[in-house]
Amino acid sequence: MDREVFDKGILVIGGGISGLTTALEAAETGYRVILIEKEAFLGGRVARLNKYYTKLCPPSCGLEINFKRIKRNPNLQYFTQAEVESVSGEEGNYNVAIKVNPRYVNDNCTACGECEKVCVTEIENDFNLGMDKTKAAYIPYQLAFPLKYVLAPEIIGTDEAKRCLEACKYNAIDLEMQPETINVKVGSIVVTTGWKPYDAVKIDNLGFGKYENVITNVMMERLAAPNGPTNGKILRPSDGKEVKNVIFAQCAGSRDENHLPYCSAVCCLASLKQATYVREQDQESKVTIFYIDVRAIGRYEDFYTKVQSDENVSLIKGKVAKVEEDPVTKDPIVEVEDTMSGEKIRAKADLVVLATGIVPNMSDNKIPVDITCDDFGFTVSDPSKTGIYAAGCAKRPIGVAGAVQDATGAALKAIQSTLRR
């Protein structure tokens, strides 16, 4: 690393929407910030969303603004493919070792694409949640920031990697790149490590992993996104047919003692939003949402009212008990009891979307930072402990607007810590 690393500033761990916000808000206030992200690009989970509820605007629009803010701000330094190795010290004076994994591409990269042209190996496309493939020399997605190629470790050491190296006119490929440890001193730390979807395979009765046409809500976002594996057409996995009839199963794992006892807070609105994707694609399409309670808090109620008024969208109170499959058509069949009427419903659909919940990344991937977590892995604010803070979904299940609000406040806490010592 030939650039000088900031001293005494703020370290933000996680470059999703919360981390980006904390880092930028602190940097724009005049404080030096180091932002680290484990993936090769900034934006995290929101970059993988098609639209935000309830405005139905694309996340890439706000990300573009945030990336522009980064480009303009000399107070912010970021590292991708980076993770925290160790933290020692106390408020005002932390020593942090950051491990940066090799991208095999340096800052010379112009994103010209010559390496991709000679690359033949395909790897699972992580950005699209493995729903399609990408070349092993790749840009994670169209609006990725930083806009630099990545060489997948899979081809390192092969002739193909050498061909990529030879194709590059700008000396941007470095096949000898090694993991590197950077030691930084910071005054405070903000943990914005975010979340991952609950593993739907664990919800045995709902058929995910067994039946092709049972997908999760995060997969639905990719299917509906113009830069997704189907270019924005919602097609069912088994036969690529456009979907006409979609069932959403709410609280798939959430509010369930056997899985996640808490409510994931975003899934009701996410399904209402995804219902509009389906309805927009085809005027004749039908959507059914099976729910326990529809939790559209605050002014989000307006959106619920709007979606509810669509006569092709039915909302039925009842938790899906079981999903089966018609072996011939591969249509999933849902079994559910309508709580209001007591009636047993068996409904067939082209596609079933499981509204899976939010699991904090800290639940099983603890970063070496002294911060208290609850039983689920969400961080707990402890006013007596200052210097290390958390924001966004690391702290609790929360939607994007709430996460950004929280992350802005976390920037202030982090600033206060750098001032105290």
């Binding site: 724009e28 206030t29 005049g30 098609n50 935000y52 405005k55 139905l56 605007c57 694309p58 996340p59 890439s60 629009c61 706000g62 573009e64 945030n66 522009k68 803010r69 480009k71 303009r72 010379n108 112009t110 010209c112 694409g113 169209q142 609006l143 806009l147 006119k169 700008y170 000396n171 996104a225 113009p226 830069n227 006892p261 808490y262 807070a265 309670d293 939790r295 808090i297 605050g298 002014r299 109620e301 307006d302 009212t305 109170k317 709580t339 209001m340 039983d375 969400f378 707990v380 607007a401 709430g402 950004v404 609000q405 929280d406 802005t408 202030l412 600033i415 206060q416 001032l419 105290r420």
Partner: protein
């Protein structure tokens, strides 16, 4: 320093293979007499960038024109001090060689036009001179409830002086009226103390915080860094200077008197959730009618909330509050039965665990249902009729006391002053319809009493909440330097208020810090340009004062605009609004963009090479077009793109300039407007579309067809549509035929 332009052309990334670089360089030096013009195969590399730096240092180059990749790329390499060096970037990669055939006449002409446009712009740009004024960094916090107290403490802890103004005699607000809070920390099962008393103590003893209680804000004048706030208290009046403001004035419970259908006012035993807190503090839940202990209590949720006749929104805190109050009652007397009648039980995140615990209490009975009426029985107990319950279509519940879970009304949504919004003088309905400049909805709620030409309070987003409309930017404000926090911004509970306070304080501090350096705040944070007005040519048309989404301009008695640069967000919408073209930034003006338009070389009609100017929003449509290039999609080479800060910058004169110079059509592509607007400057794209609605006049004057001008909305992710949009417009232009002004 004398202006000296240096043009640097990169021949990397297929530019050199696709274009005649010598011709481009020749154009710069012969047509534009540019003194320094160089090319390099990798301008963004160490060698290339040093070349430019050396010219700045040794050759006295003051204006750098970089013809290479998109201005969105390699920003770290091509970065110069804007107070010394002007920079213009020409996008030869994404917008020329990556989306048009190589070594083609039309591709070369496109690149040459972009060179002309870029140099024309560079010729008129000047280094920025940030304004400097002695500013104050004190934070004013309005409202002394949980949000206000937390804001004051948080600002003080960040080293700022604070002025805290509370209307009531005491600090603490609603939080001080609560008996307990519902569980906020693991294991999320036990009720908690509010902790407000210790916070009040802390705020009172903090020497950085000056507190005014029983105080009102008479008026707020000025702008960020320079606000003069007149506070009246104890019959006195005092003016303090502050830098930024946090509006934390909280909420009022929805007026239960309007809920007669739920029995309020008819029976004294129908009470509100606020009254239950009072009872809890006294330690007894008794019927107001006869002072007897209530042995059965029914809670009616959404009393007023989620009801189109009352509050259409969900008030967020009432479900958990009723669960908490049910727990109060059951704790006090385990024989008392509690009923909770809800529409949906909304206990998000870990609050679900407390809900679960309450559910397990056999003495608390919860059901979904629609309450159709509350009436008194002969024995004075209350009968609640509920439809569509989990137990059947229609049930009756008998209770000693009914509690209405009333919702939150934002204090900013309550009209206190009888000040109907001023209608523009003498406008007939017809004229109004024609000039539909979207007006801010401002409720005279007697909070800040801003002396702003645009109205006395923060504009309301919806239902009286002065909230941001942006998911990504929840603290975006339409009055720079003033940030709403807590329940005035949106319905929320006490814990959320505490977090929200920190966020709003951060924004307030950020605003004063940036303002002190003469820099803009979000979304153009750090921009040191600001609009300068050539007032002697002003015709007092008032468009700039009316159209600025951020209330930047006040007005003198003659109607001249009085700019407040520290309120300015540098969007440039006023520039587009001004018919006299007197509003300019040093690096961005009607003249600068107009010069770019006029720099386009328009071929003679018989060459059959039409020309179209495309004005693109730089945040959405422009990056979209970069992706089109990256994906190597192709579109008409006759289109010349000019990025704008916002589509609201488009001044009608640019269109007139374009069409009168023989350009065949103009297309404007900006962000979505309407209720779910995506324009980053609130109403820029909407204003553009209103102005384009009036373009007919200009076109008629020029005797041109209205099809020559088109305005479209595009989201950043809709890039795949762009080639089609351009090609379709070119087809229309083909049909309309060449612009008759070509040969003039």
């Amino acid at each position: 320093m004398d202006k000296k332009i240096g043009v640097y052309i990169c021949s990397g990334c297929e530019i050199g293979e696709s274009l005649d670089i010598e011709a481009l360089a020749g154009l710069a030096s012969s047509e534009y007499k540019v003194p320094v013009c160089k090319n390099h195969p990798m301008l963004c590399g160490e060698e290339g960038s040093s070349l430019i730096r050396a010219d700045i240092e040794k050759e006295g180059v003051t204006t750098v024109v970089i013809a290479a990749c998109s201005p969105r790329e390699k920003t770290d390499v091509f970065s110069y001090d804007p107070t010394a060096i002007s920079m213009e970037r020409i996008n030869l990669r994404e917008h020329v060689v990556w989306c048009h055939p190589p070594n083609d006449e039309d591709t070369q002409m496109l690149a040459e036009d972009y060179m002309r446009m870029g140099i024309a712009r560079a010729q008129k740009m000047a280094p920025l001179e940030p304004f400097s004024e002695e500013i104050d960094k004190t934070v004013l916090v309005v409202g002394g409830g949980i949000t206000g107290i937390t804001s004051a403490l948080d600002a003080a802890r960040a080293g700022k002086d604070v002025v805290l103004v509370e209307k009531g005699a005491e600090l603490g607000g609603w939080m001080a009226k609560l008996w307990k809070q519902y569980p906020k920390t693991p294991p999320y099962l036990e009720l908690q103390e509010t902790g407000i008393d210790s916070k009040i103590k802390e705020v009172k003893s903090n020497t950085k915080i000056k507190i005014y209680t029983g105080a009102n804000i008479e008026k707020t004048e000025g702008a960020p860094g320079l606000f003069d706030v007149t506070i009246s208290y104890d019959g006195k009046s005092e003016t303090v200077r502050v830098g930024a403001i946090v509006e934390a004035t909280g909420w009022q419970p929805y007026d239960a008197k309007k809920l007669g259908h739920l029995g309020f006012g008819k029976s004294p035993d129908v009470v509100t959730n606020i009254m239950i807190e009072e009872m809890a503090k006294k330690g007894k839940f008794v019927r107001p009618s006869d002072g007897k202990e209530a042995k059965s209590v029914a809670f009616i949720q959404c009393a007023g909330s989620r009801d189109s006749n009352h509050l259409p929104y969900c008030s967020t805190y009432c479900c958990l509050t009723s669960l908490k109050q049910a727990a109060y009652i059951r704790e006090q007397d385990s024989d008392t039965k509690v009923y909770i009648l809800y529409k949906d039980m909304r206990t998000p995140a870990q609050f679900e665990l407390f809900y679960k615990k309450v559910q397990e209490d056999a003495g608390i009975f919860l059901t979904k249902g629609e309450v159709v009426g509350v009436s008194e029985d002969s024995d004075k107990s209350l009968i609640i009729d509920v439809d569509n319950t989990l137990l059947g279509d229609s049930i009756q519940i008998k209770a000693d006391m009914v509690v209405l879970a009333t919702g939150m009304v934002p204090s900013a949504g309550i009209q206190v002053k009888d000040l109907p919004l001023e209608e523009p003088e003498g406008t007939t309905d017809e004229k109004k319809k024609e000039e539909e400049v979207p007006k801010d909805f401002i409720i005279p709620s007697d909070i800040l009493n801003l002396k702003y030409r645009q109205g006395p309070e923060l504009p309301s987003l919806k239902y009286g909440f002065p909230d941001s409309h942006y998911i990504c930017f929840p603290y975006e404000t339409r009055r720079t330097g003033i940030y709403a926090a807590g329940c005035v911004r949106q319905p929320m509970d006490g814990a959320a208020c505490t977090d929200d306070a920190a966020g709003a304080v951060l924004k307030a501090i950020q605003c004063v810090e940036l303002t002190a350096q003469g820099k803009a705040v979000h979304p153009r944070a750090g921009d040191m340009s600001y609009p300068e007005l050539y007032l002697s040519r002003c015709t007092q048309c008032k468009r700039c004062t009316e159209e600025c989404p951020f209330g930047m301009y006040n007005e003198d008695e003659k109607g001249n605009p009085l700019p407040n640069p520290t309120r300015c967000r540098r969007c440039g919408i006023c520039m587009g609004s001004c018919p006299e073209r007197i509003i300019s930034f040093k690096d961005y003006s009607v003249d600068i963009i107009g010069s770019m338009v006029k720099a386009i070389d328009v071929p003679e009609e018989d060459e059959e090479k039409p020309r179209v100017v495309a004005f693109l929003c730089e945040n959405d449509a422009y990056p979209s077009l970069d992706i089109v290039g990256r994906k190597r999609m192709t579109y008409s080479p006759y289109v010349r793109v000019i990025p704008l800060r916002c589509l609201g910058n488009v001044n009608l004169v640019w269109i007139a300039d374009a069409l009168s110079s023989g350009i065949d059509g103009v297309i404007l592509i900006g962000c979505k407007h309407g209720d779910d607007y995506q324009c980053h400057y609130i109403k820029g794209s909407e204003l553009a579309s209103i102005r384009m609605g009036k373009i007919k006049e200009t076109l008629d004057r020029l005797r041109l067809e209205s099809d020559r001008v088109r305005i479209l909305e595009l989201s950043i992710d809709e890039y795949a549509q762009l080639p089609g949009i351009f090609d379709d417009f070119m087809e229309t232009i083909d049909k309309v035929g060449p612009n008759p002004y070509k040969d003039m």
